[in-house]
Symmetry: C2
Subunit: 337 residues, 2 copies
């Protein structure tokens, strides 16, 4: 029986949820053509029905009741866009258990639970996809797990956190102190009121954990490798780097070394004139070293509602195409862990 | 019945064929793990059984008889790596008709026959993949058709021919003439004895035709849009560009304009300090402008046996995974044309 409609629920309607909604609205006809069926948002889980919205959506879509989504047979795909480990991880698990496919942008939940969630997805024969969890619009997960799949990956290194790249870029350009630029970044909305997750490297470590699992098929908890943030980077450090033609970037790096994988998140002085050194504040950049293809460089917007939403939507489309083809329970399980 | 082995035939054992063979040999165990079955080269079609080989392979694999490959039930996937329009196009068609999936690196054949070959693949319910046909190791086809699929693509522009990029880079760096650098490039093996296909932009036009079909879902024959090569680029042109902080690159570009798509291959002066301007001679680079994700930048090796072979092998793995999952005849047909 040919499906004419694929139903989706969004968990969360903040920046990423509303960006996903808008991206689908904007490209609806194109996506219908690619899938061979309409992809339709059926429900949106929010905490507060009356909160102001970044993007308009019909009031009847919103619910505060996750169970309503779980038991709705018209919902094929659950997109978890809440962020944070709880309750998101439980929702992902429950959705898989109920036979629904899951897309998530949640690096915090994945960094802690990816092996378990991959197992749950395989057990319930559901698809679990997470392109948007690392570097927003840059298709780094898809490139590693699909397009570059013929390669052994020997290293992944990148600038994966926009807030810290913004702060370091401005510190270097203006000779300004960390404290001054942070205050300004907070006023402009580029840094959160509590910036700890970004500036201490926790966010980058979560992303590196997800990248390592995807690239090397090994799981490393984000608290199991070196993590240094940018709070200790001084104007003197930046000037010393500059004198050597270098610039300091917060790098997330995992590479083969001595038969194992060495991983770290820390500020590193890189050549100004290198691919990573040239990555300006609004962009993220990732270098993937492949044993056959050589180095592959990816750059793009690492955040923002529509860029990240388009990555979520890309995963939704992949699953919707499989549902339309009737192969959604037989997808090759390419995850290595 | 679980498949324990997926059989592959290579048509051609030149640079790309031998690179594919070597990449599979090198990463055999990793690929077996990803596919859940062994991926095995069963036959290699060559013109001359006694020609010297770049890479060693068992003598019994080689054949000069295409029909032997067609009627071998153990061959699931045919990788067409001959190049040129004929006899390659006929081989691709025959393989699809015989129910075999096809991977090709052949931009010349695709640029002329892609719509027809896509139709044939759909009719015979076989998979047709061609990542390696554009920019070697750079996963530009995969990114456009899968990872960025939620987007309307508004422009694709890139440096897609290594020979011309090498010549222009050296002309600019050394203040040398086109003729002198070309001679040197030929001596070093970076340009062919008859360089017409590269230096007159035919190769780039073929790739642009394939990119346009993938990105916009429209087919434009490579002789239907502007094509200017680099033979007319003078030392004075390069000096004038340099004086403005620019550098001349042979760009292949297709972008939305006035409700249609404007396409061209021609030398263009671009900012030295831009993504495309900084793409050095050994690399290819492509910028994909997306209506939701913003610009995505990809850079990597655009040629070379193992880089290009790894792209061929990536497509082989995708098909092998589908065969192992039993979904190879139900793959969503994502091609827009």
């Amino acid at each position: 029986m040919k499906r004419t409609e694929i139903g989706v629920a969004l968990l969360g309607f903040g920046n990423v949820g509303s960006g996903t909604y808008k991206a689908l609205e904007e490209n609806f006809a194109l996506i219908e053509k690619k899938v061979g069926a309409k992809v339709v948002i059926k429900k949106i889980l929010v905490r507060n029905l009356n909160a102001p919205r970044r993007v308009e959506a019909p009031a009847e879509l919103f619910t505060t009741d996750f169970e309503e989504i779980l038991r709705d047979p018209k919902i094929d795909i659950v997109a978890e866009l809440l962020g944070g480990i709880n309750p998101a991880t439980g929702y992902i698990r429950a959705a898989l258990t109920a036979g629904k496919h899951v897309v998530t942008a949640n690096k915090a939940a994945l960094a802690v639970h990816l092996p378990d969630l991959n197992k749950a997805a395989a057990f319930h024969k559901c698809m679990l996809r997470y392109e948007a969890s690392v570097c927003g619009a840059i298709p780094v997960i898809g490139c590693i797990s699909r397009a570059l799949t013929a390669n052994r990956i020997t290293a992944v290194k990148g600038i994966v956190n926009g807030t810290t790249n913004y702060i370091l870029t401005r510190m270097a350009a203006e000779g300004a102190s960390y404290e001054d630029v942070l205050k300004d970044a907070q006023a402009l909305g580029f840094a959160e009121a509590d910036p700890t997750g970004d500036v201490e490297g926790y966010d980058a470590a979560n992303k590196l954990s997800v990248l390592m699992a995807t690239a090397f098929g090994i799981y490393r908890a984000p608290d199991s490798f070196e993590r240094v943030g940018i709070t200790g980077v001084t104007m003197e450090d930046l000037a010393a780097a500059e004198a050597e033609g270098k610039v300091i970037k917060l790098l997330a790096c995992a590479e083969e070394k001595d038969g194992g994988i060495e991983a770290y998140v820390k500020p590193v002085a890189v050549e100004k004139d290198s691919f990573l050194g040239r990555c300006g504040s609004e962009f993220n950049a990732v270098q993937i070293d492949c044993n056959m293809a050589g180095p592959i460089f990816l750059q793009g917007k690492g955040a923002g509602p529509e860029p990240t939403g388009s990555a979520v939507l890309g995963d939704i489309i992949e699953i919707a195409q499989a549902i339309a083809a009737g192969t959604e329970h037989e997808q090759p399980f390419t995850a290595l862990i």
